[in-house]
């Protein structure tokens, strides 16, 4: 089933069309709960001709675009929400060769907004990548994809071919397939892989950069699509792309920035079974919030951050009343432990230890000191990896202890929730 109306969460067009602004998606889509962004109804990507009719040709990318990004207050939509202008300026300062990587390796298991964007509007993403490459004088421009996201790759390949045939004056853009792994989208790993090294995260703190060292700008594909709007002087930050996961399905929708979360879920049909007990924000690398504390909060990163929450890559997953938050968290943390790059001891050993404790708790088979051990291990792991992977896991667990505190106590006493054996979140299978 498909949501037929185009971008129905965006304000209705008014006489002053600039108030509405262009949408990134051609329409909202309904997807199955697992896998990449293959819609239940597939329709063709916007062609180059349609793209040009809607947006016109892109201007040439110049260093002045950085100032425009700054004015537009464009932040990174891969999840970290770092101002784009900050990263572009760092690339401009680099005196070595620059590579620009459009990051479409959407590795958060719930997320599908980047894949949906690439399937619907590949030309807007390629415009953004080309603009960034020109503005930064990059020697190399890459679209980086998750290894098994065939749909995104085919869409981007077709779009590149259309541009080539039309004789577009684009810089050379190549598509690179990363691994099919949770860390495939990790920026420092992409940087290392593109410079010929292993696809592994590198140390967070680096020494003073070597003169003439290569520099890689990794920017999420949604961010680049928005940069392509900024370059055309179009409003670029009035909407946000979200993936909403319900017990039945998954939707990728585009909503006006700042509407309350309860409205997003209600319009996505996620409240038909009643109000949820909690909401997972930001996916496996995100955190739980209680329904009471999050329902009326605006779906906008700054508003979320004021209450120590975050949308991450725009993932919202309400948890039904009957489900067991402890078991859901245990299943996610097991996956995160399996997805460790296994480079740093505290992550390689700490995440499996955390996953084991959570599993025992979830099953109601916890040792007497299990909860205390879990809390000790959280402290032991946090901040001790080279990348943010272990910190994402500990943050998720800490939020679960807070949000599902009463359930955790019941589980620890050997009285697990009736639904503990049937976690509902889509956790990818791992072959070990």
């Amino acid at each position: 089933m498909t949501v037929e109306t185009t971008s129905w969460l965006i304000r209705k067009p008014t006489a002053d069309d600039r108030l509405v602004g262009p949408t990134l998606l051609t329409r909202d889509v309904r997807l199955s709960r697992f896998g990449h962004a293959e819609g239940l109804r597939t329709d063709p990507a916007e062609s180059l001709a349609e793209h040009l009719t809607r947006f016109g040709r892109r201007p040439r990318g110049t260093a002045g675009l950085v100032e425009s990004l700054d004015r537009a207050d464009l932040t990174g939509r891969g999840g970290a929400h770092v101002p784009a202008a900050l990263k572009w300026r760092a690339a401009l300062r680099a005196d070595g060769p620059v590579t620009v990587a459009a990051n479409g390796a959407e590795s958060e298991p719930i997320s599908a907004k980047d894949g949906t964007l690439l399937r619907q509007r590949p030309h807007l993403v390629l415009d953004g990548l080309a603009l960034a490459a020109e503005a930064l004088g990059a020697r190399r421009a890459v679209l980086w994809l998750h290894g098994d996201d065939t749909g995104s790759r085919l869409s981007a390949e077709a779009a590149l071919e259309q541009r080539r045939r039309a004789g577009f004056a684009d810089p050379l853009m190549e598509i690179v397939n990363g691994p099919a792994h949770y860390l495939a989208g990790e920026a420092s790993a992409i940087t290392q892989a593109l410079s010929g090294g292993p696809m592994l995260p590198t140390q967070r703190r680096r020494g003073p950069s070597v003169p003439g060292a290569p520099h890689t700008l990794v920017q999420n594909v949604e961010t680049l699509a928005r940069a392509a709007l900024v370059a055309r002087n179009l409003p670029a930050t009035r909407s946000t792309l979200l993936t909403v996961l319900t017990a039945q399905d998954r939707m990728v929708i585009e909503v006006a920035r700042g509407i309350p979360l309860v409205d997003v879920l209600s319009r996505a049909g996620a409240l038909r079974g009643g109000t949820p007990q909690a909401v997972l924000l930001g996916g496996f690398g995100g955190a739980w919030a209680t329904w009471a504390e999050i329902a009326d909060v605006q779906v906008d990163e700054p508003a979320m951050r004021r209450i120590d929450m975050g949308l991450g890559a725009g993932i919202i997953a309400p948890l039904d009343q009957g489900a067991c938050g402890v078991a859901e968290t245990a299943a996610m943390v097991r996956y995160l432990a399996d997805m460790s790059a296994k480079q740093c001891g505290p992550c390689m050993f700490g995440l499996p230890a955390l996953a084991r404790s959570l599993k025992l708790l979830a099953d109601g088979r916890a040792r007497r000191d299990e909860r205390a051990r879990l809390i000790d291990d959280l402290d032991l792991v946090t901040g001790r990896g080279a990348c943010n992977h272990p910190d994402g896991a500990t943050r998720l667990i800490s939020s679960a202890l807070r949000v599902f505190g009463r359930d955790v106590a019941e589980h620890a006493a050997g009285r697990p929730c009736p639904s503990a054996g049937r976690p509902t979140l889509p956790v990818p299978a791992v072959t070990r």
Binding site: T202, Q203, R204, R205, Q343, C344, G345, P346, C347, F349, G350, D379, L380, T382, G383, R384, G385, A386
Partner: protein
Amino acid sequence: MKGALAGSESGSARVRLQVDPVACDGVGLCAHLAPSVVDLDRWGYPILADRDLGRREKAAARRAVRGCPKRALRLDGPQ
């Protein structure tokens, strides 16, 4: 523990022992060479004192840096 890596980013004038968690293999020699500065967690990986080091501690930390077979330790700040 949370500040084990963060301190060096502030550019403060403090002298701190730092570990590269990727290079570290949990050999544990550092905890013998600089017991006042290094503890080991239950998996054998170093937990470094999150504070400015005194003169004797600095000397011990230098021994740990030199002794690490994986070259995973370094001393940051004015020496």
